[in-house]
């Protein structure tokens, strides 16, 4: 059956996130972008929504709701509609938590999941991206070499979200027999965490570079333990998440442009009454819609346990391209005002370009 009907729970989640996004994220976005930091008070406020703990089973301290990537995609779109950066900061704990929840060994679940079910914001992060041009996440340069009964990790990771305060990192590395992810504590010997990186967009989201110089990990630190984990699957969850975030960003741009174009008068009439602007807005709407449906399709495949590699690739690629195109046109609709930091459009323009080259910074 083909159906676009969210469940009642999904509608409720969407609606409550929508008001949180508009009232809190949107109003704080500019200030955070300028400061280059996320206030603790915001993280605490977002934590109360139980964004990560909701889908962790009660046996690990969570709320025990059904694990549902599609619900998470809906939530992420709404949050990112308010502000993509703060949405990523608020949901960053899920990067680590969902990986453990979906593919961790029983010991790993027991050891780490309760961390995300406490009263205070707790974050652990995912380290996939590396600073090489056109980085391919399926082919990282970071190596996991066998050492005794464990491994030694060596390499460089960048764009690791919330790395300034993450308690642990899940580091993706290439071993002799394929890809794996390893749990590395923040104080692990051989691990160097950089000062926050300075980025084009998502400025409030602190990202760091990790230098791993023979960081020793045991077999038990490997995601999934002896069973190992499917890293493609992990990446698919992050790709769909980023697609959802970019869809939210696209919708924000459009919803900002519409009232602006109706108010801004040129040659005796609102610019919205000119086809060159009106048709552009129509195209922005079309592409926002398509980004959302591609995201939903991939997310629903995740829900069903089907292989979503192709769908996730389409969702992320499409949403990346279109959100950039939409933000770019948003700047154009506002003209000079689009270039001024008084309006959020220039920020969305920077955020869209940044999001488009990342994948492992959100998880559904």
């Amino acid at each position: 059956m083909i159906s676009f009907g969210p469940t009642e729970e999904q509608i409720a989640a969407r609606d409550s996130m929508r008001s949180f996004a508009t009232e809190v994220l949107f109003t704080k976005a500019r200030e955070c972008d300028e400061a280059g930091a996320v206030p603790d008070a915001f993280l605490a406020q977002a934590w109360e929504l139980g964004l990560t703990a909701t889908q962790i089973p009660e046996s690990y301290g969570g709320f025990g709701a059904v694990r549902s990537p599609i619900t998470n995609a809906i939530v992420l779109e709404e949050l990112a509609y308010g502000d993509a950066t703060l949405a990523l900061a608020a949901t960053a704990p899920a990067l680590f938590a969902y990986a453990i929840l979906d593919q961790g060994s029983e010991e790993q679940k027991q050891a780490y999941l309760p961390l995300f079910c406490g009263e205070r914001y707790h974050v652990a992060s995912l380290a996939v991206t590396e600073p090489s041009p056109g980085f391919d996440s399926l082919n990282p340069a970071t190596r996991a070499a066998r050492k005794g009964r464990g491994f030694a990790l060596r390499g460089t990771k960048c764009f690791v979200p919330m790395g300034d305060r993450a308690s642990h990192f899940l580091v993706v590395a290439q071993g002799d027999d394929g890809l794996d992810a390893f749990i590395v504590g923040r104080d692990a010997p051989g691990l160097k965490i950089s000062e926050p990186e300075k980025n084009l967009g998502l400025r409030a989201l602190t990202t760091v570079t990790l230098q791993l110089e023979d960081v020793e990990v045991s077999e038990a630190d490997r995601l999934g333990g002896a069973q190992r984990a499917d890293i493609r699957r992990l990446l698919n969850h992050t790709r769909v998440a980023v697609a959802a975030v970019m869809t939210g960003l696209s919708r924000a741009v459009l919803d900002y442009c519409i009232p602006y174009a109706k108010e801004r008068v040129a040659f005796d009439e609102p610019i919205a009454r000119k086809q060159s602007i009106a048709f552009r807005l129509a195209d922005m709407h079309i592409e926002t819609e398509c980004s959302r449906w591609l995201t939903w399709k991939a997310a629903s495949q995740l829900d069903h346990g089907l292989d979503p590699t192709k769908a996730a690739h389409f969702a992320r690629t499409y949403a990346a391209e279109k959100s950039m195109w939409i933000a770019d046109n948003g700047v154009q609709v506002l003209g000079g005002h689009g270039y001024i930091r008084e309006h959020p459009v220039e920020m969305w323009f920077r955020n869209a370009r940044t999001l488009g080259v990342l994948e492992a910074i959100a998880c559904v």
Binding site: S3, S137, W293, H304, A311, H313
Partner: protein, 390 residues
């Protein structure tokens, strides 16, 4: 529940439709090159093939809704060929108008006939409120005069729903649609149009010269439109809310055929496509092809969305335009891109890709051009009427 997997019943129906498509495709080139002939109402092979409409059991809650399923079937049919069908359904656009706006008596009297719809005129296309064909009341009759072009199924239909103005000064409010039976004196089909693509399709031009029809042939009866409103016009425009997803699905069926052909050709040439790999690790052809596939997916989902809303009996005016605009552009890009990837094979008439490229070009034109769809979408987004945004 959000869901994109077809049910077993859905699949059974689509498989049967695909089987028909494979057969129909065998005749595709012949009728493309013999434009003056009409493909038969039913092919020889029809007898041996199960009818997709009856192949599955009762529809259940697991199955896709009727509107969604219809788009899927349109897609499967045109994947075979746009114009050649194993079985040609005995209905056309005019039937949809009758279904949407006809009175019970009219449905009874006209429902079993194939009804074409005549809107476009030599001087009026995208703006149907400019219709010049006139309808004048004369006692118990209407007297119609004018010229219509691009009438789909105009040659083989039994009757036509004709748009005409009863009052030019009233603009859109003056436009009404009328049921005219073939053979009515003063009503002539002049010729079959010669086209870029969908050549085997029946696209007719017709003339109305002092054509007299009974008063009760006013579609929807005389009460539908209160004086001064554009109710009748709106009623007929409503027809498009389902036909737009359907014609979008048709275009995407053609585009899918081109994608399938190109995928096979790439495979034979040893080009591998790895989804989710970094761009610089893909060949240019693989990268281009996966983009075209992505575009197809995006457009198809927008079609399902519009159809799904119709199944929920929700307003889908904007969404119907979204899918039409998206599909219209997508099929152009996809078929043009496939030819680019295929090179000389794509441009040769030995294969069907060049035909698909011509056939699907109609998608962005008929049932409202892409520009009209954007106009509709923009008005909805901006809360504008036709005075604010022309």
């Amino acid at each position: 529940m959000i869901e994109f997997e077809l049910s077993a019943n859905d699949r059974m129906i689509l498989d049967a439709a695909r089987k028909e498509g494979v057969i129909a495709r065998k005749y595709a080139r012949y009728y493309d090159e013999h434009e003056h002939e009409f493909p038969p109402q039913e092919l020889e092979e029809a007898k041996e093939l199960p009818n997709p409409l009856t192949v599955a059991g009762e529809r259940t809650a697991e199955d896709s809704g009727t509107a969604v399923l219809t788009t899927l079937m349109q897609n499967a049919m045109t994947w075979g060929d746009y114009s050649v069908r194993v079985r040609r359904p005995r209905e056309s656009l005019g039937n949809s108008a009758l279904e949407a706006t006809g009175t019970p008596e009219q449905k009874q009297k006209w429902g079993h006939l194939i009804l074409a719809m005549a809107i476009t005129e030599p001087g009026c296309g995208s703006d149907p409120s400019m219709v010049q064909t006139t309808a004048v009341r004369d006692g118990d009759q209407w007297l119609l005069n004018g010229e219509k072009i691009f009438v789909t199924a105009g040659c083989r239909c039994d009757g036509v729903v004709v748009w005409a103005t009863t009052d030019k000064a009233a603009g859109r409010a003056g436009i009404k649609s009328f049921l005219i039976e073939k053979g009515t004196p003063g009503f002539t089909i002049t010729h079959k149009e010669k086209k870029l693509g969908i050549r085997a399709d029946d696209t007719a031009a017709m003339v109305l010269e002092d054509c007299r029809i009974p008063r009760e042939n006013l579609l929807g009866g005389e009460v539908t439109a209160p004086k001064g409103s554009s109710g009748g016009f709106r009623g007929v425009m409503k027809t498009f809310n389902m036909t737009r997803p359907n014609v979008s699905a048709r275009g995407l069926g053609i585009a899918e055929a081109a994608l399938d052909f190109t995928r096979d050709a790439l495979k034979q040439a040893g080009v591998e496509i790895e989804y989710g790999r970094a761009l610089h690790l893909q060949s240019a052809a693989a990268e281009k092809f996966s983009r075209l596939e992505m575009l197809w997916e995006a457009a198809t989902l927008s079609v399902w969305r519009a159809a799904w809303l119709a199944d929920q009996e929700q307003e889908n005016n904007t969404e119907a335009s979204v899918c039409k605009a998206k599909a219209g552009m997508a099929v152009r890009e996809i078929t043009q891109g496939c030819i680019e990837i295929l090179g000389p094979i794509g441009a040769s008439r030995q294969h069907l890709v060049e035909k698909w490229f011509r056939d699907c070009r109609i998608t962005d034109i008929y049932e409202g051009t892409g520009e009209i769809q954007r106009l509709i979408i923009a008005r909805a987004l901006l809360g504008y009427g036709r005075k604010e945004l022309k």
